[in-house]
C-alpha cells in the first residue's frame, strides 16, 4: 500500500500531463480526442437479433404469463372501480386510525376525498389496483428469497449481487426488456414494479432473521422446538418488525415503479395523467395529478410504517376499532345503494382549479421572466457550461462578457500553479497533483476531454479507491461504452449527474451538519425530506419544468432536489449517532463545541457521510434517467428513445451504460466508506 501511496501523486501528474498532451495534438490527430466512428462496433443490431430470437422462442411463454398476471390486476381494478368512493375512503381512514391514530386517519381520508374532488378518482384507483397486486407478489417473492438467503450462504452469495444490480440499475431501464417480452399492457407495470420492489423485502428479511439474538433461538431449542417450530414460532415472529419495515419499503418502491411505468402509455392511470398533461404544458392539471400521487405515496407510507412500528399494547383499551370499521363500512356500502352521491362523487361537487393555476403561473412566468432567465443563464454560463465544455470554450464575450485572451489563460495557469504550490508546501503531493488535474479538466471541459485520458483517469481512480478488481471492472465497463459508441452520451450523463451530485452533496452535508447541531433546523428539514423521499420521481420534475421550462438546468434542479435528501439524512444521522462515550470523553478534555464538531464528530461520522455520498449518487442517477423527459441529452435520452421505438438494442445499450456508471460510482464510494469504518473499528449492519 505504501508503494501505491508514493506513486499516487506521480501518476495523477502523469494523467494530467497526458490530458494536456492529447488535447494539444488532437488538432492534427482527431482520433485521439474523439473515439473514431469507424471503430465503433455497435451492439444494437446484435442485441436486437438476439432479443428477436429469444422472443420468437420464449415470447409465447412470456405472453401467456403476462396474460395470467393480467387477471388479478383486472379483478383488483374492477373491485376498486366497483367500490363506492365512500367505502374506499372509509377503509383508508380506518387503516390510518388503527395504525396510528386519528391524525393519520384524517390525513388518509382527506387524501382520498381530494382525489374524488378534483376528478381523478378512477385514474388513482387504477394505479392503486396495480400496487395492490404487485405488493403481495413482491413481498412473497422477497420473503422466499430472503429465507433462502438466510439459511444458505451459497444462496446468499448469488442473491445479494443480483439485488445490488437490480437496485443500482435505474428504474427506467427495467421497462424496456419487460415491454418487449410481455408486450403492451398493464402487465409491464406490474412486472416492473414486482422486480423493482422485491429487493428491499429480501434484504429486510435476511437482516431481520439474522438479528434475532442467539439466546432466543437457544431458548426455543431448549423448549424442544422442531426446526419448523423454530422458524415459525421463534425466528419469524422475532424478526417481524424488520420485515414490516421491508413491507413499507417494498410498497413505496412498487408505487413509484407503477407511476414510472406510465411512460409506456396506454393505461388510464394517474402517472399517465401527469405525464400527458406535462407534455401538453398543462401544468395546473399536471400539478394536481402529481399531488394525487404524492398523497397516495404519503398515505401508503405512513400507514405501512405505522403498522410496522406499532408498539405492543399491554391491554387493549377502548373500543375495538376493527369491529367498528367493519360496521361503518358495511353501513356505508348499504347506504350507497340508496344514495348515489355516496357511490359516485357527484359531478356538481367537482372542483377544477387548474385553469386558475395555469393563469397564475403564466403571470409569474411573464412578469418574472428577467429573474427566471437571469438565474438560469447565470447557472448555465458560469457553472454548467465551463464544466461541460471547459473554460476554453465557455468563456466568450457572449457568455462571460469577455474573451479568454492568452494573458487570461496564463493567469489561470498561474492560479492553478499557486494552488499546487500551496499543497506541495504542506507536503500533500497527491492533493497538488489533483489540483493540477482539476485545473486541466476545467480548462478542457468534461465532454471535450480526450477519451483515452478520461478512460485512464476513471480506471486509476477506481484502482486507488477500491483496488485492482474494481479497476478491471471499470476498464471493461468503460471499454464497452466506448466501443458501443455511447461514450459521448455517457460523458454527458456523467457531467450532468456529476454537477448535480457535487452540489447536492456539498449543500446537503452543510444542511446535515446544521441540522445535527440545531434541533429546530432538524425538525423543519425532516418533514421536507420525508416528503421528497416518498414522492415518485416524476412529480419532483413538475414545479421545475413549470418555471424553468425544459432543459438541462431544470433537470439539474430536479436531480438536486431529489439527491440532496440522502446527503442531509446520512450526515445528520451519522453526527447524531456517534458513540456516547467518545463525545463525553471529548467534553471532559475540554473541547469547545467547534472543536468537538471538527475534530471529533465529523471525522468519526465520515463513514456515514460517505455512505450518504453513495446514496446521493444512486439517487442522482435514478433521477437523471427520468429527466430525459424534460429534454436532457445523454444515456437517459437514449433509453427513452429505445422505449419509445421499442428498440431493444438502443435502449439496452444505454441501460447497460447507465448501470456501469452507477455500479462503478457505487463501489468506489462504498469502498471509501468501508475503509474508514474499518479504520475506526465501527461495524455497521449491512446486507
Amino acid at each position: 500500500m505504501t508503494d501505491t501511496n508514493k506513486m499516487q501523486p506521480l501518476i495523477w501528474f502523469a494523467l494530467a500531463g497526458l490530458s494536456i498532451a492529447l488535447f494539444l495534438v488532437a488538432g492534427s490527430v482527431p482520433s485521439l480526442n474523439d473515439f473514431p466512428d469507424a471503430w465503433v462496433l455497435s451492439p444494437t443490431d446484435f442485441m436486437n437479433s438476439m432479443m428477436g430470437g429469444f422472443v420468437s422462442i420464449f415470447g409465447p411463454a412470456f405472453k401467456a404469463m403476462g396474460w395470467l398476471l393480467e387477471w388479478p390486476v383486472r379483478w383488483s381494478q374492477a373491485l376498486l372501480e366497483f367500490l363506492p368512493w365512500s367505502v374506499t375512503t372509509a377503509i383508508f381512514v380506518f387503516l390510518g386510525l388503527i395504525g396510528s391514530g386519528w391524525k393519520l386517519g384524517l390525513f388518509a381520508g382527506l387524501s382520498m376525498i381530494y382525489m374524488a374532488l378534483i376528478g381523478y378518482w378512477d385514474e388513482s384507483m387504477n394505479s392503486l389496483a396495480i400496487v395492490l397486486i404487485s405488493v403481495p407478489m413482491a413481498v412473497t417473492t422477497g420473503f422466499i428469497f430472503g429465507v433462502m438467503g438466510f439459511y444458505s450462504n451459497r444462496a446468499r452469495k448469488i442473491i445479494v449481487p443480483i439485488l445490488d444490480l437490480l437496485q443500482t440499475i435505474p428504474a427506467f431501464a427495467y421497462l424496456l426488456p419487460i415491454l418487449i417480452l410481455f408486450g403492451f399492457g398493464t402487465t409491464v407495470g406490474l412486472v416492473a414494479s414486482i422486480l423493482y420492489a422485491f429487493p428491499p423485502m429480501v434484504r429486510n428479511t435476511i437482516l431481520g432473521l439474522r438479528a434475532v439474538p442467539e439466546e432466543i433461538i437457544e431458548a426455543g431449542i431448549m423448549s424442544g422446538a422442531t426446526p419448523a417450530q423454530l422458524f415459525w414460532k421463534v425466528r419469524l415472529p422475532a424478526a417481524k418488525k424488520q420485515m414490516l419495515l421491508g413491507l413499507n419499503q417494498t410498497t413505496m418502491a412498487a408505487l413509484s415503479m407503477v407511476i414510472i411505468a406510465a411512460v409506456i402509455g396506454g393505461t388510464n392511470d394517474i402517472g399517465w395523467e401527469v405525464l400527458n398533461t406535462m407534455r401538453k404544458a398543462q401544468f395546473g392539471e399536471s400539478l394536481l395529478a402529481g399531488f394525487v400521487i404524492a398523497l397516495i405515496a404519503m398515505s401508503l407510507d405512513r400507514i405501512t410504517h405505522a403498522f410496522a412500528t406499532k408498539p405492543k399494547e399491554i391491554v387493549r383499551t377502548g373500543p375495538n376499532y376493527w369491529v367498528i370499521a367493519v360496521l361503518v363500512i358495511a353501513a356505508l356500502a348499504a347506504l350507497s345503494t340508496v344514495f348515489p352521491f355516496l357511490r359516485k362523487w357527484p359531478e356538481a361537487l367537482l372542483w377544477n382549479p387548474a385553469p386558475t393555476m395555469n393563469a397564475a403561473l403564466e403571470w409569474v412566468v411573464i412578469n418574472g421572466r428577467e429573474w427566471i432567465e437571469g438565474i438560469k443563464n447565470a447557472a448555465f454560463f458560469f457553472v454548467m457550461l465551463p464544466i461541460k465544455i471547459g473554460l476554453n470554450k465557455a468563456v466568450s464575450p457572449f457568455t462571460w462578457g469577455f474573451e479568454l485572451t492568452p494573458t487570461l489563460t496564463l493567469g489561470y495557469v498561474g492560479l492553478v500553479a499557486a494552488g499546487m504550490f500551496w499543497a506541495a508546501v504542506k507536503g500533500r503531493f497527491t492533493l497538488a497533483a489533483i489540483v493540477m488535474l482539476w485545473g486541466v479538466v476545467s480548462y478542457i471541459g468534461l465532454t471535450e476531454m480526450p477519451w483515452i485520458a478520461l478512460f485512464a483517469i476513471f480506471v486509476y481512480a477506481a484502482y486507488v479507491t477500491a483496488g485492482r478488481n474494481l479497476a478491471i471492472g471499470t476498464a471493461i465497463g468503460m471499454a464497452f461504452l466506448i466501443i458501443a459508441g455511447v461514450w459521448p452520451e455517457s460523458v454527458l450523463s456523467i457531467y450532468l449527474c456529476g454537477v448535480a451530485v457535487l452540489i447536492s452533496f456539498s449543500l446537503g452535508t452543510l444542511i446535515g451538519i446544521w441540522a445535527s447541531e440545531n434541533n429546530t433546523v432538524s425538525s423543519i428539514v425532516r418533514p421536507i425530506m420525508d416528503t421528497l423521499q416518498t414522492m415518485p420521481l416524476f412529480v419532483i420534475l413538475i414545479p421545475f419544468v413549470m418555471v424553468f421550462k425544459i432543459g438541462e438546468f431544470t433537470a439539474l434542479l430536479a436531480i438536486i432536489a431529489y439527491a440532496i435528501v440522502p446527503a442531509i439524512r446520512y450526515t445528520e444521522h451519522g453526527l447524531r449517532n456517534l458513540p456516547e462515550h467518545v463525545i463525553e470523553a471529548a467534553d471532559t478534555i475540554g473541547c469547545t463545541r467547534r472543536q468537538l464538531l471538527f475534530k471529533v464528530k465529523l471525522p468519526l461520522a465520515l463513514p456515514a457521510i460517505m455512505l450518504g455520498l453513495n446514496q446521493t449518487i444512486i439517487y442522482g442517477i435514478g433521477m437523471l434517467v427520468i429527466t430525459a423527459l424534460v429534454g436532457t441529452n445523454g444515456l437517459g435520452q437514449r433509453i427513452y428513445i429505445g422505449l419509445g421505438n421499442g428498440d431493444f438494442g438502443v435502449g439496452m445499450t444505454a441501460g447497460i451504460g447507465m448501470a456501469v456508471i452507477a455500479m462503478v460510482a457505487d463501489r468506489m464510494t462504498q469502498a471509501i466508506s468501508r475503509r474508514k469504518q474499518e479504520q475506526f473499528g465501527l461495524v455497521q449492519q449491512h446486507i
Binding site: 439466546e215 431458548a219 426455543g220 423448549s223 422475532a238 405492543k312 399491554i314 391491554v315
Partner: protein
C-alpha cells in the same frame, strides 16, 4: 451445606472430557479420541496447542457428575467457559469432543427427535441473558414451552398462571419483555424453565440481575422448591456466598478447564491453588465453619447444656452462645455427642481463622 434432603448416590448427568473449540477447523484436534487425551497436564498442553493455532478453547477436558437431587454449582471468571459447558450439556451447542451421559444414555448419540423429547420433558434452562421471546407477553412467554408441545391455549395459560405466582410476577401477565426490568425479565425466564417440570435444570446466573433482597428471597424459594421437587441442578453463579448457600458440590473453572471440584467447604479449607483461594478469600469463616468443625471433645458435658446438630454454621450459633456461657453440646446425625463448644472456642477459631486445626 444446605439443609434438606441429601442428594442420592445415583448419577443423573455425567460428562466426560468435554471440549468445545471455536475456530475454522475445530475437529482437527480430536480424531477419534472422544476428547480423552490423557491426564490433566496432557490436556492442558493440547489446549495450549489449540490456542496457538488460532482457535478459541471455550471448554477444555471438562468432566464431572451431577447426582439426582444435587445442586452442582459452577464458578469462574468471566469468559472461563461456564456458559459454554452448560450449553454443551444441553446440546444447544454441539461439543467438539467428549461424552455426555444422562441417566446412563449417551446424549450425543440420541437422534434429533429423541433430543427434542428430552428437551420438552426432561430438561429446563434459564439463560444468562434471559432469551425471552420479544413478541410474546409474560404469560405466553412462560407458556411457550407448552405451546411448543402442542398443549391447548387454555391449559397452558392455566399452568403459566400457577407459575407466575411462584416468581412473584402477578399483575404483569400482559406485559411484554421490553416493558420489564432486568430482574423481572429474569424471573420470567426462571418461570418459563419451570413450566415443563424438568428433571434436569440448568441455570446460568439466574439471579444475577436481581437486587439483594429479591435475590435472597429467590434463593430461599429456590431451596424450598428443591426440597419439594428434588431436581438435579447445574447452577452458574459469580457469587461465592450464593454458592455457599445452595451448593452441594461445586466446580471452579479457569480458561475452559475445571480447576477444582468439591464441597464449598472443601474449597475453602483446601484450595487447590491461589486462583481458587481468590474466590474463597472474602468468605467470612463463621459462615463456613460448622459446629462439628470446632466441637471440643475435652470439654466437660453438663446435663443442663442444650444440644445442636453438627452441620450448624458458627454464624447461626453465635447469638445463642452470647447468652449461654456454659456452651452447647454438638451431636452428629447419628445422635453421638462430638463434644461441646463455648463462646471462647468460637472466638478462638475465628481469631486464628484456623481451618487447619478445626478439621480434627
Amino acid at each position: 451445606m444446605p439443609e434438606g434432603n441429601a442428594p442420592s448416590e445415583q448419577v443423573k448427568l455425567s460428562c466426560r472430557n468435554i471440549w468445545k473449540i471455536y475456530g475454522s477447523q475445530p475437529q482437527q484436534f480430536f480424531d477419534g479420541t472422544k476428547g480423552n487425551v490423557g491426564d490433566a497436564p496432557a490436556a492442558r498442553g493440547l489446549a495450549q496447542n489449540i490456542r496457538d493455532s488460532e482457535h478459541i478453547v471455550a471448554a477444555a477436558n471438562v468432566s464431572f457428575d451431577v447426582h439426582v437431587g444435587e445442586i452442582f454449582v459452577i464458578m469462574g471468571l468471566s469468559g472461563s467457559g461456564k456458559s459454554t459447558v452448560v450449553r454443551c450439556l444441553s446440546r444447544v451447542v454441539e461439543p467438539t469432543a467428549g461424552e455426555i451421559l444422562m441417566d446412563g444414555q449417551d446424549l450425543l448419540k440420541v437422534s434429533k427427535s429423541e433430543l427434542i423429547e428430552y428437551r420438552r420433558h426432561k430438561m429446563g434452562m434459564v439463560f444468562q441473558n434471559f432469551g425471552l421471546m420479544p413478541h410474546l407477553n409474560v404469560l405466553d412467554n412462560i407458556a411457550f414451552p407448552l405451546e411448543i408441545q402442542g398443549i391447548s391455549l387454555k391449559k397452558r395459560r392455566e399452568k403459566a398462571r400457577e407459575i407466575i405466582d411462584l416468581v412473584g410476577l402477578q399483575g404483569r401477565e400482559a406485559s411484554f419483555p421490553s416493558q420489564l426490568s432486568g430482574g423481572q425479565q429474569q424471573r420470567v425466564g426462571i418461570a418459563r424453565s419451570l413450566a415443563v417440570e424438568p428433571e434436569l435444570w440448568f441455570l446460568d446466573e439466574p439471579f444475577s440481575a436481581l437486587d439483594p433482597l429479591i435475590r435472597r428471597q429467590m434463593q430461599d424459594e429456590f431451596l424450598r422448591l428443591q426440597r419439594e421437587l428434588n431436581k438435579s441442578i447445574v447452577f452458574i453463579t459469580h457469587d461465592f456466598l450464593e454458592a455457599l448457600r445452595i451448593a452441594d458440590r461445586m466446580a471452579i473453572m479457569r480458561d475452559g478447564e475445571v480447576v477444582q471440584i468439591g464441597r464449598p467447604v472443601d474449597l475453602i479449607l483446601n484450595p487447590a491453588n491461589d486462583y481458587v483461594k481468590d474466590f474463597t478469600n472474602d468468605v467470612p469463616s463463621e459462615m463456613v465453619l460448622t459446629a462439628g468443625d470446632i466441637a471440643n471433645a475435652s470439654r466437660p458435658l453438663t446435663p443442663e447444656m442444650g444440644h445442636i446438630s453438627a452441620d450448624i454454621s458458627l454464624a447461626t450459633l453465635l447469638p445463642y452462645l452470647a447468652d449461654n456461657e456454659a456452651g452447647i453440646m454438638v451431636r452428629d446425625g447419628n445422635g453421638n455427642d462430638l463434644g461441646a463448644i463455648t463462646a471462647r472456642d468460637v472466638v478462638k477459631a475465628l481469631a486464628t481463622n484456623a481451618p487447619e486445626g478445626a478439621g480434627a
